[in-house]
Structure formats: structure tokens, C-alpha cells
């Protein structure tokens, strides 16, 4: 009902931004090349796509039940985080001005989605599948490791513990966004910040592919940094969550590179199957 209208609006804007970024980063020639040989490119990454889809499906299932499991086996550490970190987020918010709030709110929603989806397109447009495979594996690792933390650690964000020091800026400025974010966020899962870890994964990958896509590196790095800052500016995450997210994002890429290097050949589709699916 109410979710649908926000979802449609966000999707439309995201699609527009993706198209724009594709033109700037991949360029019309690259896009054309991709369009004419889409099928073998997609088929080449079927194993990794299957992995990611499986992980996302698991995540959806977990989102419904993991809180219950967490309350039984996990530890609630919000106060401990606050004692360790102090009032960093509260201080950050003293720098808030309405324009920044709008910027970071848009970044948290639109910027984040574009940041995560675009590299899939960009790497699909390459003539070799490795970066895309690595990216998809890194995404999967982010979610799986994140899930393990969510089951063991229950932590609420600063807006929930110290409302006198930290405002839920996103939801006071754009209350309707919460009908969207509550589909994927659980208030007890702030540690680690997956917004941060996935953004850092994209940033790291963008850095690694900066020679092929210099413009993407120039976009992804500041955009990713904005997403990371937005999670704290908006009062959603502690700095500790962000630090953990950065570590997770980096580790996920290193692990993904290792996995694709080590197991890349074994997990690729067998040549015969590839040829058949790719329509050769």
C-alpha cells in the first residue's frame, strides 16, 4: 500500500541514476558492445550469481527469524559500545545543517543503491569476468559474515540509546523512507554496519579497477565515503559499527580475490554447458 509508492519512486530515480552513470563511466561504445554480447557475459558468472542469490534469499529468511534467535543466544551490547565510543555521533550531529541532512539522506538511500548496483553493470561490460565474479563473491561474504554477527551481537544505534544527544535525522527529515528501510534493516543489527561494509567493498573494487574505469573510481570513492559518513550523521550507526564495517568490507574483498583465484576454475561452468547456455 504505502510501501509501493515509495518503492516505485526510489526505483525510478535509481534507474535514472544508473543510466546516467552508465553513459558516463561505460560510455555508449562500451554499452553497445555489452548489449550485443550480453548472454555469454551473464552466463560466465552464473555460479557467482547463484551464490549471491542464494545468500540474499537466506538473508531474507534470516531477517524474519534471526532477531528471535539472537535474543536467545546473543549479547546486547549497545551500552558497552556507547561507553567505549562516547558521544562521537552526537558531536558529529552538532555539525548538522539542513542541506547536509538532505544530501546525506539521499546518499543513504539512492546513493547506496546506485553504488551497489552500478559496478555489477560496469564489470559486466568488461571482456573478462574476473572483477564481476570477485565483486559478487565479496557481496555474498559481506552478507554471510554480517549474518553471523547479527545472530551473536544485538546492538541498537545511537538514536535508540541516547535520543537526547542523537536525532534520527533521516526519519525526521524524510519519515516515509523508514517504510522502505524497515524492509531490510532491523534496529538490533547495527553492528557491523552493512551499509559501510558493502560500500567499502565497492570502493575497494573500484580502486582495484581504477585503470579500466578511472571515472568509476572518481565517483565511487567519494560516493562510498559519503554513504559511510551518512550512517553516522543520520544517527543510525555508531563509529564502532563503521570501523567494523570497514574491516568487513576490506576483508570480504581479500577473501573474494583469494577464493576466485583458488577456486575460479573449478567453480566456472564446464565449457560444454557454457557454450550451450551462451548460445554458441
Amino acid at each position: 500500500m504505502m510501501l509501493d509508492s515509495i518503492l516505485l519512486r526510489v526505483l525510478a530515480i535509481v534507474l535514472g541514476l544508473l543510466a546516467l552513470t552508465a553513459l558516463v563511466v561505460i560510455g555508449p561504445a562500451g554499452l553497445h558492445r555489452m548489449a550485443t554480447s550480453v548472454r555469454p557475459r551473464v552466463v560466465a558468472v552464473i555460479p557467482e550469481v547463484t551464490l549471491l542469490v542464494g545468500v540474499l534469499w537466506l538473508n531474507r529468511f534470516a531477517r524474519q527469524y534471526s532477531p528471535d534467535v539472537a535474543w536467545i543466544i546473543g549479547f546486547e551490547v549497545t551500552d558497552a559500545i556507547y561507553r567505549l565510543e562516547g558521544n562521537f555521533v552526537g558531536w558529529l550531529q552538532t555539525l548538522a545543517i539542513p542541506e547536509l541532512t538532505v544530501y546525506f539522506s539521499r546518499v543513504y538511500v539512492y546513493g547506496y543503491v546506485v553504488l551497489l548496483v552500478f559496478p555489477v553493470l560496469a564489470y559486466l561490460a568488461l571482456d573478462y569476468p574476473r572483477p564481476l565474479r570477485t565483486l559478487l563473491v565479496a557481496y555474498s561474504l559481506n552478507y554471510v559474515i554480517g549474518l553471523v554477527f547479527y545472530l551473536l551481537i544485538i546492538a541498537y544505534g545511537p538514536r535508540n540509546l541516547v535520543p537526547d544527544l542523537v536525532d534520527p535525522l533521516l526519519y525526521t527529515a524524510f519519515p516515509e523512507y523508514q517504510t522502505l528501510t524497515r524492509q531490510v534493516n532491523r534496529s538490533i543489527n547495527v553492528f557491523p554496519s552493512l551499509h559501510t561494509s558493502l560500500s567499502v567493498t565497492v570502493m575497494f573494487m573500484a580502486w582495484r579497477t581504477r585503470e579500466t574505469y578511472p571515472r568509476w573510481a572518481a565517483i565511487a570513492l567519494p560516493l562510498g565515503a559519503s554513504v559511510v559518513i551518512s550512517t553516522m550523521y543520520l544517527g543510525i550507526h555508531w563509529a564502532i559499527d563503521v570501523i567494523a564495517g570497514i574491516i568487513l568490507g576490506v576483508v570480504a574483498v581479500y577473501l573474494a580475490v583469494a577464493i576466485v583465484t583458488r577456486f575460479g576454475e573449478q567453480t566456472a561452468l564446464p565449457e560444454g554447458l557454457f557454450d550451450r547456455l551462451a548460445g554458441h
Binding site: M1, P175, R182
Partner: protein
């Protein structure tokens, strides 16, 4: 029911319905592990404060932060334990796993509600039955007296009781909040300034277009996860389940209105009840057997099969008012009460449950046959999202964390009987949507997507920028914000310690500053001040445990002196030592 409901119900039942069972089973050993890890074996006295997160209600956590600051200022270690609504109830009300807690009791309007809140024999029980574990024989006697006494004798007993509670201090009442709601007055023309503490207020709403469904917003997800009227973890006041189930009498404003009962006549302490002709949602006739069964089930949800009775924590106080329930014939029941009729008739408001559905739910709760927990029955944890009630509405669809859609039952007696004319016409459907925040609720009301914010607005609202179609309404509530002490745990078992802790709170200041609407502080856990003796009136300061300081500035020396006066020791670093 829709396919979506069936598929998710099966798997949800496995986990969510038994999560409580598992929580209870593992709570004890996990608590020990947690306290070892968090306190590290320190000698300093330290207490934890359990509260719900700010996004549920900003008031308790604001109070908790100040209490924590003041406890630490005087040398008592304090930590805050955030718990979402459901785990909060499981920890605090089910497992009694807390030191201090700050929360709202859903309803403290009638003096007899204090019986189940405070009677010592109810300490071991779950739910809002003496969660403080308080043990006071004087209070017990007064609680029993007020059940049978009438007139001035009763008034005096209640006055003495309230004074005793303030002095022996198992809880620190704070205030009964004025609640604020948003209404779309183009769509609702009357009845929207009710307190909405009973389902009857929803039925009494007047719509501009009675053919339109009624749409309300709530903030709690409880009704989307469980529609079991007996559930402790999911229910607050049971307004939604109250539309699906009904009692012999229904609360309507300050009266009790005959509902499933056509007539109730009292002779001394015995009531004879004649049932209306009514059906369950599956068409089966409601009989005296269902009524007798319900009262039996509430008293012991295992119906005798467990070693010790497992009563339903909800409605416990009301159930305890009744001694015996006998079916005289298909449509007549006799109830004998343990109290005067004025008090006992409250017991006739409990929801009547269909025997043919619930008699199968008296086994111990378990996860698919494993992890059986022998102190909880299926009846207490089943999510019941496919309820067979007798109410004027039945469930059409439930979406987890989002919406509960109800639709009218055909030929319900509320439609037929003239005595319910004041409620006609009832909306054909009712949609209860979960709103993530007040800003969204206000947008929905302005759009007309929602008629009324049933869940009150709890955050700061800029009243000047409000859309024109929104009207804000403020009504008093019988919910009681209060500080809970777990008197089972030393040193909170010591009355003096509790009183000193209470004196760390400047309640008058808090009533103005941490709330979005200024509230009136109270020293007694009863919303109706008619019962509160003059000496207990909260004027400038608390009459029994005044704040040790002024204008929210704690006098640390005075507070530490108060601690040493009662025998606690403070070391050279200003830390209070855990008493041996």
C-alpha cells in the same frame, strides 16, 4: 485464509511460538554468563536498567539515562539494557531477569488491579503479576480487604494500601500520561477523543462515510505476529484481539456493558449469567461450556495435566476474583465470586475462548517436539493468527510487521440487537497498519490513508506545520510510567535502598522535560486520584521519597550520606561497595 498466511504460519509457529519456551529454558544460565562477562567480577555495586529503545518510546530511555547518570555520580555502577518490546516482556515479566526497569504498565485504573500487581503470592508468577517479587503482609491484607469491603471501609483500605506502597516502595510511579493522537476529521466525525484503551472505543467511532473501511495506525508489531489474547510477550492492552474475542461484559467508557451475556444478575456473591444466542467465527454455537472452559483454562492452561497449575498471566487478577463457574444449562452460567459484586464483575470481561479450538492447546509448548518446556503450555505461546473468536470482526489477512486486516462477521448480534444502536453502523473492514514513525503516521493521516493514529504520537511534533486535515487530540490514559525494582535481587530487596534510588529522580522535572506533553507526576499507582489520600498528593516534591537535590541537580553528598545512613559502604574512590 490466504495461502500466504498458511505458508508463513507453519514455519513461524515453529520458531516464534516456541522462542518464549526456549528463552525461559536458557535464560538462567545465560544470565549468569552475561553478568560474569559484563561485570568482570567487580566489587562495586552495579545495577542494570532495562528499557525499550527510543524508537519505541523516547520517554523511558530518557529517564533511564538520567537515572544511570545519577547512580554513577553517587558511586553505583549502572548500565542500560535495551530490549525491544517483546524481549523486554520476556526478560522482565516472564523471566524476572532484571534489576531495575522503566516502562509503562498498560492499565492501572481500578484499585483491584493492584491485587495482581502487588500481592505477594503472585511473585513467582509471570506477566504483570507482582513482577517486583514484593513481599509485604500488610499490603496483602489491605489488598484482600478491598476486595470484599464496600463504602468507606474500602476507601480507607485503599488509601492505606497506597500509602504503604509509597513507603515500602516496590515501584516508583511516575505519571499517567496524556496521550496525543492525530485524526483525520474529514473521515471521522465523532468518538475520536476517546482513550482507546478498550476495543469498544474503536467500535464507537463515527465515520463520515460508513461504507469506507476504518484505517488506523499502530507502532507495535505485536498484533502482526500473534493474535493470541493470552500471550504475555505480544500483548499490551489487547485492543486488537478485543475486536476478535469478547467477554460476557465489555468495558465501555466507565461502564460494563452486557455483551456475550444478555443478562447478569447478582445475588450476594453469586452471579447468574444468561448467554445471548451467538456463534463462533466457524459457525458453531457459543454455549455455557465455552464459558466454563474459558475460566478453567485461565486458571490452569494445562487443565490439570501439569504438576502445578499454569495459569494464564493475562487476566490473572480478574480470574482470581472468581471461585467457581458452573454451567446450569446450554445458555446459563453461575459464577461465585471471592469479592464484592462491584469488584467481581470485572471478572466478567475476560475474553471467552472456544473450547473446541483451545482444548487441544493444553500440552506443554515445544519446538516440533523437542526442547519441551514444562512450565509453558501451547495455549500461552501459540500465535493464533487464524483466530476463531466471537467478535464482530474476523481476520482477513495478516502481514508480518505491516498490517492486520479485519473484516466484518455477518449476522453478529451487535448488528441485530437494538441495544447496540449507538455503535451502528460499524465499518465493513478495519485495517491496522504498523507505522515506522510519527512523521509517517502524520503523512498517512493527512492523505486520508489512515483515519486515526491508534498508537499515540510519542515524539515531538511541530504543531505549526501540521497539515490542515489533521486534528490533534489529547486524552488521559491509565497507563502508568514507573520504575520497577526487582526486589528478589539484593540489595534491591532492601526497602531503604529502593527508596534512596527513587530519590535520585527529580520526577517533577522529568514530567516536564523528558515528555513531549507536560505530564502530572504521581506518587500512587492508580490513575483515578479519587482513591489517593491527601498526604500522598504530589505537590512540588514527592511526599515520601523527595528528590535529593533541586531542578534536576543531584546533591551527590546528600545522596551518598543517605546510602551510608542505611548501611552501605563507600570506598576511597567514591564507589559504593556491593553489600555482602
Amino acid at each position: 485464509m490466504t495461502a500466504a498466511l498458511d505458508a508463513s504460519t507453519v514455519s513461524r509457529r515453529t520458531l516464534i511460538a516456541s522462542a518464549t519456551a526456549a528463552s525461559v529454558a536458557t535464560a538462567g544460565c545465560l544470565r549468569e554468563l552475561r553478568s560474569v562477562l559484563t561485570t568482570g567480577g567487580s566489587e562495586q555495586l552495579s545495577l542494570s536498567i532495562a528499557v525499550i529503545p527510543a524508537s519505541n518510546d523516547p520517554v523511558p530511555i530518557r529517564i533511564a539515562n538520567r537515572l544511570r547518570d545519577n547512580l554513577e555520580a553517587i558511586g553505583i555502577g549502572a548500565s542500560i539494557e535495551l530490549r525491544s518490546a517483546r524481549p523486554f516482556r520476556v526478560d522482565v515479566l516472564y523471566n524476572h531477569d532484571f534489576d531495575l526497569a522503566i516502562t509503562t504498565h498498560p492499565q492501572l485504573s481500578r484499585p483491584d488491579a493492584l491485587y495482581s500487581l502487588l500481592h505477594s503470592t503472585l511473585g513467582p508468577e509471570r506477566g504483570w503479576q507482582n513482577p517486583y517479587g514484593w513481599d509485604d503482609l500488610t499490603a496483602d491484607e489491605l489488598l484482600e480487604t478491598q476486595r470484599t469491603a464496600t463504602g468507606t471501609e474500602r476507601e480507607e483500605a485503599i488509601g492505606e494500601l497506597l500509602t504503604r506502597v509509597a513507603e515500602a516502595h516496590p515501584l516508583t510511579p511516575l505519571w499517567f500520561p496524556i496521550r496525543r493522537r492525530a485524526v483525520n476529521t474529514d473521515q471521522l466525525t465523532g468518538g475520536y477523543d476517546a482513550s482507546f484503551e478498550t476495543p469498544h472505543d474503536l467500535l464507537a467511532l463515527e465515520q463520515a462515510d460508513p461504507d469506507q473501511p476504518l484505517s488506523v495506525s499502530i507502532s507495535a508489531i505485536g498484533p502482526t505476529q500473534s493474535l493470541n489474547p493470552l500471550s504475555v510477550e505480544h500483548r499490551d492492552r489487547g485492543v486488537v484481539t478485543g475486536l476478535l474475542y469478547e467477554g460476557l461484559l465489555r468495558r465501555a467508557d466507565d461502564e460494563l456493558r452486557p455483551w456475550l451475556a444478555e443478562e447478569v444478575s447478582w445475588m450476594g456473591d453469586t452471579a447468574e449469567v444468561t448467554l445471548r444466542s451467538a456463534q463462533w467465527h466457524d459457525g458453531i454455537e457459543i454455549t455455557a461450556d465455552d464459558v466454563a472452559f474459558t475460566y478453567d483454562l485461565l486458571a490452569d492452561t494445562s487443565l490439570g495435566s501439569a504438576e502445578a497449575p499454569i495459569p494464564a498471566p493475562r487476566f490473572r487478577g480478574r480470574r482470581s476474583l472468581i471461585d467457581e463457574v458452573t454451567g446450569l444449562d446450554e445458555h446459563t452460567i453461575e459464577l461465585t465470586a471471592d469479592a464484592s459484586p462491584a469488584v467481581a464483575e470485572q471478572a466478567l470481561t475476560v475474553p471467552i475462548l472456544p473450547e473446541h479450538v483451545w482444548h487441544d492447546r493444553t500440552d506443554f509448548a515445544s519446538v516440533e517436539g523437542y526442547l519441551e518446556e514444562e512450565t509453558i503450555t501451547e495455549a500461552l505461546v501459540v500465535d493464533n493468527l487464524d483466530p476463531i473468536g466471537s467478535g464482530p470482526y474476523t481476520v482477513e489477512e495478516v502481514t508480518d510487521r505491516e498490517i492486520v486486516e479485519l473484516t466484518r462477521v455477518e449476522d453478529h448480534f451487535v448488528d441485530e440487537a437494538d441495544e447496540f444502536d449507538d455503535l451502528h453502523p460499524l465499518p465493513p473492514r478495519i485495517g491496522i497498519t504498523v507505522s515506522p514513525n510519527d512523521g509517517t503516521s502524520l503523512e498517512w493521516v493527512a492523505d486520508g490513508a489512515v483515519d486515526l493514529t491508534l498508537g499515540p504520537l510519542l515524539s515531538e511534533i511541530e504543531t505549526e506545520d501540521l497539515d490542515e486535515s489533521i486534528t490533534l487530540v489529547e486524552t488521559p490514559s491509565t497507563a502508568c510510567y514507573h520504575v520497577m525494582y526487582n526486589t528478589r535481587r539484593p540489595p534491591l530487596s532492601n526497602t531503604n535502598v529502593r527508596r534512596v534510588i527513587a530519590q535520585l529522580l527529580d520526577i517533577g522535572y522529568l514530567a516536564e522535560e523528558v515528555t513531549t506533553i507536560e505530564q502530572s507526576p504521581t506518587a500512587a499507582p492508580l490513575s483515578d486520584t479519587v482513591w489517593v489520600p491527601e498526604e500522598l498528593a504530589f505537590e512540588e516534591v514527592h511526599p515520601v521519597v523527595p528528590f535529593l537535590g533541586s531542578s534536576n541537580e543531584l546533591d551527590v553528598d546528600a545522596a551518598q550520606d543517605a546510602l551510608t545512613d542505611i548501611g552501605l559502604q563507600i570506598d576511597d574512590e567514591g564507589r559504593v561497595i556491593q553489600p555482602g
